[in-house]
Each structure stands twice: as C-alpha cells, then as structure tokens.
Amino acid sequence: MFGDYAALIVLLPVLAFVLTLFLGKKLYSGGALLPIAAIAGSFIISFGTFLEIYPDKTIQQSLSWFAGMNIGILIDPLAVVMLMMVSFVSLLIHIYAVGYMAHDPAKPRYFAETSLFTAAMLGVILSDNILQFFIAWELVGLCSYLLIGFWYHKPSAAAAAKKAFLVTRVGDVLFLAGIVLLYFNMSEVVSSRAFSLEPGSFILQFKSMFAAIPHIPPGQLTLITLLFFGGAVGKSGQFPLHGWLPDAMEGPTTVSALIHAATMVTAGVYLVARTFPMFVAAPNSLLVVAYIGGFTALFAATMGLVMNDIKRVLAYSTVSQLGYMMLGLGAAGMAIGAGAVGISMFHLISHAFFKALMFLCAGSVIHAVGTNDIREMGGLFGKMKITAITMIIAALALAGIGIPLVNFGIPFSIGTSGFFSKDAIIEGAFAYGEQTGDLIPYVFAILAALLTSIYIFRLWFMTFTGTPRSERHAHESPNVMTRPLIILAVFALFFGYTQSGFYGYVDKNFELMGVEMAVHEGEAVPPSIIIVFMPVIVGVLGFLISYYIYYQRKLDVSKFITSENPVYKLLINRYYEPKLASDIIGVKLTHNVVAQSGEFVDRKIIDGLIIDNIIGRTAFKLGEVMRRLQTGVVQNYAAVIILGIGLLVILLMLGGV
C-alpha cells in the first residue's frame, strides 16, 4: 500500500517547497509546518514501505520519459534504509530549525529551500536510472548553492556558495562524462545484440546497466566507474575536491547539518554503492576508491586538529568520515565483495545520526554564545547541560568508543553506533591488507581514527569545560531545539546494535536485483585480537591526549601555534587549497590568463584589426583619397577620358584581340 505511493516521498517535499515559497510569508513561522508535515509524510511512507518490502521485496515503477529515457522509482534495501534515514534526520533538523531560525526574516525561503533540498536527496535515492539520479544529484547541488548562500548579502557566503557549486560541478562533469561513456557502451552492447533490453526496461536503468556489465569491455568499465567516482569525489568532498565543504559553513548551521548528515555529501557514497556491481567488475577503480578514501580520511583529520571554528572542525570531520565510507567501499569491496555496501552504508547512516547531532549541538552553542570560534567559548557545560551531554555522546560515537565483547565469547558488544560502524570499515581495510599485503589503507584508517579522537575531544573540552572566555550569557536552547538533540543522541548511542540485521538486509540488495557479483573466494580470516582492539585503543588514546592538553592543560600548545611553525601554517591554511582553487586556478589562470587573452584576441584581433581596421577603415581612407581625384577642372576630366580610352585599348589587347 505504501509502496504504491512511493512517488509521494519526493513529491510531498516538492509540493511543500512550492507552497512555502509563495505562501510562506502568511503562515506560522514562515510556513515551517508545511515542510515538516511533508517530510514527516515522506518518512511515514518510507517506513511503511520498508515494512512492506522487508525482507526480500523491491518496488519498481517506471514511466517512459523522452528519447528512450525514463523516470522511475526503485526501492530496494539500499534505497529504503537511506530513505528512512534521510527523511528522519531531515525531519529532526527541520523541527530544530523552527527554533534556530526563529529570528530570521527570510524564513519562508529557508524552509522552502531545505524542503527542496530534502526532496532532491530523496529523489537521488529512489531513482531507478542513472539520468534521473544525475538530475536529482544536480538539484541537490543547486539547493546547496542556494542554502550556503542563504545569507547572500554576506560576500563570504556568496563566495562559498559559488565555490561549492563550482567544485562539485567539476565532479558532476566527470559524472556526466561517465554517463556519456556508459550510454555509448550500452548502445553498442544493445546494437551488437550481445545483450538485449528486457521489454519495458530502459537503457540507463540500473538493472539494465548491471545486466550489461559482462558485455562491456573492462577498460571502458574502469573508465566509467572512475568517472562516476569523480562525481562522488566532488559531491562527497573527497580529496582533491574537498575544499568546498568547509567553506560551506557560511550557511545557517542547520543547513550544514543537512548537508553533512542527511542530504548532500552522502550522495557521493550512495552513488558508488548504487553502482557497486560495476565497481566490483572494475577492481582498479575500487583500488582508487580505497586509496582516495583512506587518504582523505587522514588528510582531512589533520586539518580538523587545528581549526578554531567549531563548524569547520566538524566539516573536516565529515570529510574524514566520508573518506572512511569510501575506504569501506573500496578496500572492503576488494576483500569481501558485495558485503562492502552494507559495511559502508551502515557507517553512513550511523554517521548521519551523530554528525547531525553534532551540528545541531554546535548550532545550539552558536545560538547561545553568538560566535563560531571555540577559543571564545568554554565552560558551557554548566549552562547547557543537554547540549553538552548530547555532544559528548556524539563525540564518543565519532571516536568509535566501545568494547568489542563479542570477541570474548559474549554475544554482544557494548559501544556507540560509531564503534560498530567504523570498526567494521577498519577491519575491512585490514582484511584487504591481509589478502594483498597492501596495508597502506589500513594505516591511513588507524592514524585517522587517532586524530579524529583527538580533534573531537579537543572541540568538546574547549567548548564545554574550563573557564568562560567570553562575556556572553549563554543559556540552554528552547525545547524545539533540544528535543531533536535528545532523539538523535538516542540513535547515536544505540543504532549500532542493528548491525547484523542491517548487514543481512542490505547485503541482499544486489541479489534481489539479480546481479551476480564476483565475491571474493575463501573464508575471511578472523582478525587477531589486537586488530579488533586497535580502533578502540587509538580512540581512547586520542581522548587521553585531548584530556591531557585541553582539560588538564598540562601541555601548552600555544608555542606550536605560531605562524613560524611550517606544519601549523600548512594546516591552518588548509594546505593552501583555497588559494590554489580560487586564486590560482579560478582567477589567475582561468580568468586572467585564458579568458582575458581570449578577450584580447576577440576584440583587438578578430574584431579590431580585421573587421574595423582592415575592412572598415580601409574603405573610408580609400574613399577619402579617391574623391580627391575629382578635381573639378573639366580639362582633367577630358584627360581622364582619353586615358580611359588608352585603358580600354590595353584591356582589349589583354583580352586577346
């Protein structure tokens, strides 16, 4: 029953977008209730659908669109868990925003845009074909542009919005190139009759794509998947297209929460997961995914260490965690095949909960103290108990704190959601290392876990403990803001216990679509105890380091934080990425060199020299000269006539007489 109305999952928020945009001004709280109701509807339908299709059904609906393309809905395990997570988290964020945005005059626009943002993300999730996926994907990018630039009168916000759109656009173009290449190969396959489309299915549908995998040349497949991954790199802020994500903090904090937890950045991971059978068939691509993911996880964590803007720390944390998810897909994919999707998606969802929680907590703090700079905070624990407690829960989840009791024969482990999800990825990376001897991804993952733990507790200690470093009178946020925090905290704490059920459900995903994936042969060797404990050990170690430095203040770090320290300079300047992207590539190279020289050629050479001067002026000059031949003296005219006769003689002689 719910499944029949699956289209409403997207259409309700779209409707809310339209209504809120045009009518919001006249409604309560800028029309916030419309999107909330719509997204609640989406969540209910998603959940209902989940109950309907669990454990082994899928929903497919498809309509012909244009030129052999279609629009359709595919709800399989992978999609439905995402749908539930996105609609749920988004719902909470919307509710929270009623409080957070209470004083902003442009509320209708805000709620309309976030509603569209959610709709676009839901559209990405339930697409049954790559074109629709791309379209929704682009709309996600559009909404991020609109929301990051929500306070468009701030130059930095306008710049950040543009950067976000352009940098992800680089990825999008790669993605589009992948689609072009895919379409080409699919058409070749179909026209060579090696493979025929099922009746009623379309060329860019996922099921057709997966069915055609064996017929596509491996080289092409690698290229296609790499291009797809290029899109994911842009959207999910992987190195080297990560720069937009920290800048995106210019938007309202709730927007950041949406982007980082529910709606935008996970789309990249979802893309790789969605097309995972193709990646599995192209192991070289998986390797690239693993390396980029692992490197990003570490790379972003290093920058998270030194940032002072509370949201920026969280932003780098997101980049880093997305790196984990990519690492999970890549490394675990090579090690255990299809199971990697479950591992990675599980982390995605648990990350969504605790990262949303973190951002909302940060929002609560910012709302209270009116600054983003953690150096100006401190000692807020007493004033904002709910925020502080939920935040420490989120931090524990992020750091992956827990006790892997299961290895001691006890049927369950104790731990936060992050503990379950992140450890699985790290173990996956280790499994890959063990099989191939390539331990580099694993090393990346472990080091990143250590740094993660350090920076998140640094953040917590600096914010909530110690003496207040500013004179603002902070107070706890209203209920409409704290309730979502509590709900999210519950999920951050306990979501991890669904692990085995989740794996079992999501792992079946591609089987349900009839895709046979080359699963790696051989029994997975149970990892040694030290490997199992390693993530927890580094997590706790990180906590202790932070505790030592930022709580007990035994070590004065200020002497490292100087502009003379090259490492610090490198980190605080974010590896000079903004300078490189905006100044050098954007302004200097593209605008000043290429575009301006084009302008020069156009105006001065093509137009100025050839059209104006050579053709235009010459005619004028010639006219001025030639009119002087007309002296006005009639004898000269006669002379010219006589000369003309001479000319005629010459011409006729030349003519051959």
Binding site: T631, G632, V633, Q635, A638, A639, I642
Partner: protein
C-alpha cells in the same frame, strides 16, 4: 589621294582636337577643339562615302554638321550665361563643384 591620306588627316585633326581640350583653358578654345573633333569624323564619313560608292556617309555628315552647329550654339549660350555670373570663362577657375 588614297583613302588613307584622308584618314590620316582626320586622325590628326582628331588628335589635335583632343589635345586642345585637355590643355586649353579658355572655354571658347575648347569649343573650337570640339568642333575640330566633330569635323574630323565628318571628314572620315565623307571620305568613306566616296570610296565606298555609297551616299549614306554623306547623309550622316550632313546630319552631324547640323547637330554640331546646334551644339556650338548651346555651348556659347552656356558660356555667356556663365560669364555673366562669374565674370570669367577660364575653365581652371570653374571648379566649385568637386570632390
């Protein structure tokens, strides 16, 4: 005298007339040069007529003589009118229309 003698004389008259038009400044002289050229053509016509045993040329010559007379009359009339307005018939100075 052979035909070529007449033709040669006509050609010389023609050339002298043409040279005169180019070099002379007085309007009267130029009119005379034009007459010279027309008459060279008449001479041709009459000569050809005689040598071709065919009277058409002489008829043509008569027409042209009559026309030349009218032409001279018009020419002088214009020159007189011009002299009244400009006090000169030196054609070098008659160049308000140019360029």
């Amino acid at each position: 005298m052979s035909l070529y003698t007449y033709l040669l004389i006509a050609a010389i008259m023609f050339t002298v007339g043409a040279y005169g038009i180019i070099t002379q400044r007085s309007g009267i002289k130029i009119l005379m040069c034009i007459e010279l050229m027309l008459n060279s053509a008449n001479l041709n016509l009459v000569a050809f007529s005689s040598f071709n045993n065919n009277s058409t040329g002489q008829v043509f010559a008569l027409f042209s003589i009559a026309i030349a007379a009218a032409e001279a009359a018009i020419g002088f009339a214009i020159l007189v009118a011009l002299f009244r307005v400009r006090d000169t018939i030196n054609l070098d100075n008659i160049n308000i229309l140019r360029w």
